[in-house]
Amino acid sequence: MSSLVMLITVFVLAIFVGIEIITKVPPTLHTPLMSGSNAISGITIIGALILAGVLKGQPGYSQLAQIMAFVAVIFATINVVGGFLVTHRMLKMFQRK
């Protein structure tokens, strides 16, 4: 199996898993669901880190690419840190009762 077909398989199966579990989230928690899934979409940080950390002289080093990835690290970190924190804040309010 080529790697592309394998990645597409993973993608399609993950969509189905997502649909299965997310239809079970009650409407009361839809806002935390959005902010929480927002935090998860901050996973782009992985790509940003790899590209921002390329050492000078390594194949594929380019200052432009590095600066773009640096800005991406900032954006993705905002998503991850802000997303999980604000979701925690909200869910705590629901948990009190």
């Binding site: 993973v10 993608f11 993950a14 969509i15 898993v17 579990i21 997310i22 079970k24 009650p26 409407p27 009361t28 928690l29 839809h30 806002t31 935390p32 669901l33 959005m34 902010s35 929480g36 899934s37 927002n38 935090a39 998860i40 979409s41 996973i43 782009t44 992985i46 790509g47 940003a48 590209l51 921002a52 950390g53 050492l55 594929g60 380019s62 432009l64 690419a65 773009m68 990835a69 800005v71 991406a72 954006f75 993705a76 970190t77 905002i78 998503n79 991850v80 840190v81 802000g82 997303g83 999980f84 924190l85 604000v86 925690h88 804040r89 309010m93 629901f94 948990q95 009190r96 009762k97």
Partner: protein, 517 residues
């Protein structure tokens, strides 16, 4: 086992933790733990990445530090009423990150190619194009959604100083950045298109009107242009400028798709952009061949799509109608003066007297409650009624507010237990046994016309049947129409009392009147 395999196993663990996170959101009791698992998953993925190779740490540490501070401050400072704005903004950051990562990977790959490495394959090229288009649409669309929610884009009134700084600052940044990069290149049709797209985005964002003739033409033109450019990027990926032109044109599309969508349709837009931010992350996963990005992105994409579907269904409108249609009074909409001939206005004392003798009270909140920040006052009234052994529940319409679940978060903030928040389908069958229904800052979602008049713009939309309650108290500042622009005959029913005033003040007056009796 080599390092690469270990990293990939860590990614699988992270993906499983993300799935558990979302699964545990199925109940408020487990949700906090779920969210924590998701965060741990993210940390595992980050650490596994950072130990997998040798890196230049400067930009990594600096980027994480800056992002963490901004993210933490935003998350801890934001008011619960402004949650839609924050989520809108975060969606946009996700989109921007995808655009930049895919762009960076493209530049890195082709500077390696110039040094003799193998070129990227078709998968990488197509995925880069998708990341660029979806990411840019998400970023600019989210900025528009944010600006509309924070009420500084496409409005005619005077702005607060901070709103002016954001509005003009953003447009200036886009236009100046576009021109600066465009002019630094050799003059060519491509660089001209790039500069044009930046100027168009900046200009559109300064308009005071959200609709103008030719809007649909630009929509179609920018969509076709984005796809065409996408094909060109696939054919010639070494031309970085092409990628940026693609991002610019997709940005125009993002602005234009979102700008004409109005207030009450915001929940759909926010949910849709949420989905896009996930799909952008997934396509970035295809660019850099990374499974955890693909899985996480697919989960978020699915989540956004499901929420979008729920919101559309709750308005009885198709997604196409929300995105491209117009909402407003039709030719045979009845005259407001005629409908409101028999409206009865009541004082806080009269409403208090009605509540005194009630056994079961249902409160129906809408966006007006968020605007007036009335959630704590509502809770105080409810607590007082409960102390008199009157049963109080809340009926929440799926599209009440500006994002899915908006009302629930506000009421949770005010310490209202979640089991008192009832869904529309749960409360409607029992509506005829309700003594008093209090409608607070909601309008279209309780308009009985949706059931009775097939020609109305909200025909067929499921509503909360407050008109079936014995008495309806409507707290509202005036008789002005809701988002649909049509009069609401509920206000003039025999069993309806209009209690005019700001939501919070009305609730406080009501509480005072209740205590006096």
């Amino acid at each position: 086992m080599d390092m690469q395999n270990l990293t990939n196993i860590a990614y699988v663990v992270a993906a499983v933790l993300f799935i558990l996170d979302l699964k545990m959101l199925a109940h408020p009791r487990t949700a906090v733990r779920g969210n924590r698992l998701g965060f741990i998953g993210m940390l595992i993925a980050i650490v596994a990445t950072l130990v997998s190779g040798r890196f230049d740490w400067t930009y990594i540490i600096l980027g994480i530090a800056i992002g963490s501070v901004i993210g933490a401050v935003a998350a801890l400072k934001v008011k619960m009423t402004s949650m839609p704005e924050l989520v809108g903004l975060f969606n946009g950051f996700g989109g921007a990150a995808s655009v930049l990562v895919a762009g960076s990977a493209l530049v890195a790959t082709y500077s390696a190619v110039a040094a003799g490495a193998v070129a990227g394959d078709l998968q990488m090229k197509v995925a880069t194009v998708l990341s660029g288009i979806i990411g840019s649409v998400t970023f600019f669309g989210s900025y528009v959604a944010f600006g509309k929610l924070a009420e500084f884009l496409f409005v005619k009134w005077k702005l607060h100083p901070w709103q002016r700084v954001v509005k003009y600052g953003f447009s200036l940044l886009v236009a100046a950045g576009g021109l600066w990069y465009g002019l630094s290149l050799e003059l060519s049709p491509l660089s001209l298109v790039f500069m044009l797209s930046a100027v168009v985005i900046a200009g559109l964002l300064l308009l005071k009107n959200e609709r103008f003739p030719g809007l649909n033409a630009i929509k179609i033109l920018s969509a076709v242009a984005a796809v065409t450019l996408g094909v060109f990027v696939v054919l010639d990926p070494s031309n970085t400028l092409l990628y940026w032109v693609l991002v610019g044109v997709a940005g125009v599309l993002g602005v234009i798709l979102t700008m004409s969508i109005g207030g009450a349709d915001m929940p759909v837009v926010i949910a849709l952009l949420n989905s896009y931010s996930g799909l952008a992350a997934a396509s970035t996963g295809f660019v850099i061949n990374n499974t955890v990005l693909i899985i996480a992105g697919a989960l978020v994409g699915a989540s956004g799509i499901i929420l979008t579907g729920i919101m559309c269904k709750a308005m009885n409108r198709s997604l196409a109608n929300v995105l491209f249609g117009t909402m407003g009074p039709t030719a045979d909409t009845p005259d407001a003066d005629e409908v409101y001939r028999t409206v009865k206005s009541a004082s806080a004392e009269e409403v208090a007297m009605t509540l005194e003798v009630a056994q079961r009270v249902v409160i129906v909140p809408g966006y007006g409650m968020a605007v007036a920040q009335a959630q704590h006052a509502v809770r105080d009234v409810a607590n007082f009624l409960e102390s008199k052994s009157i049963e109080v529940e809340y009926a929440i319409h799926p599209v009440a507010g500006r994002m899915p679940g908006h009302m629930n978060v506000l009421l949770a903030e005010a310490d209202v237990p979640y089991d008192k928040l009832k869904e529309m389908d749960e409360i409607n069958p029992t509506m005829s046994q309700v003594d008093v229904a209090i409608v607070l800052g909601a309008n279209d979602v309780v308009n009985p016309v949706a059931r009775t008049d097939p020609s109305s713009p909200i025909a067929g939309m499921p509503i909360i049947d407050v008109d079936k309650a014995r008495t309806v108290v409507v707290i509202k500042r005036s008789l002005s129409p809701g988002f649909a622009g049509i009069p609401n005959p509920l206000f003039a029913l025999d069993n309806t009392l209009m209690f005019f005033g700001d939501g919070k003040k009305a609730m406080l007056d009501l509480l005072a009147a209740l205590k006096e009796q």
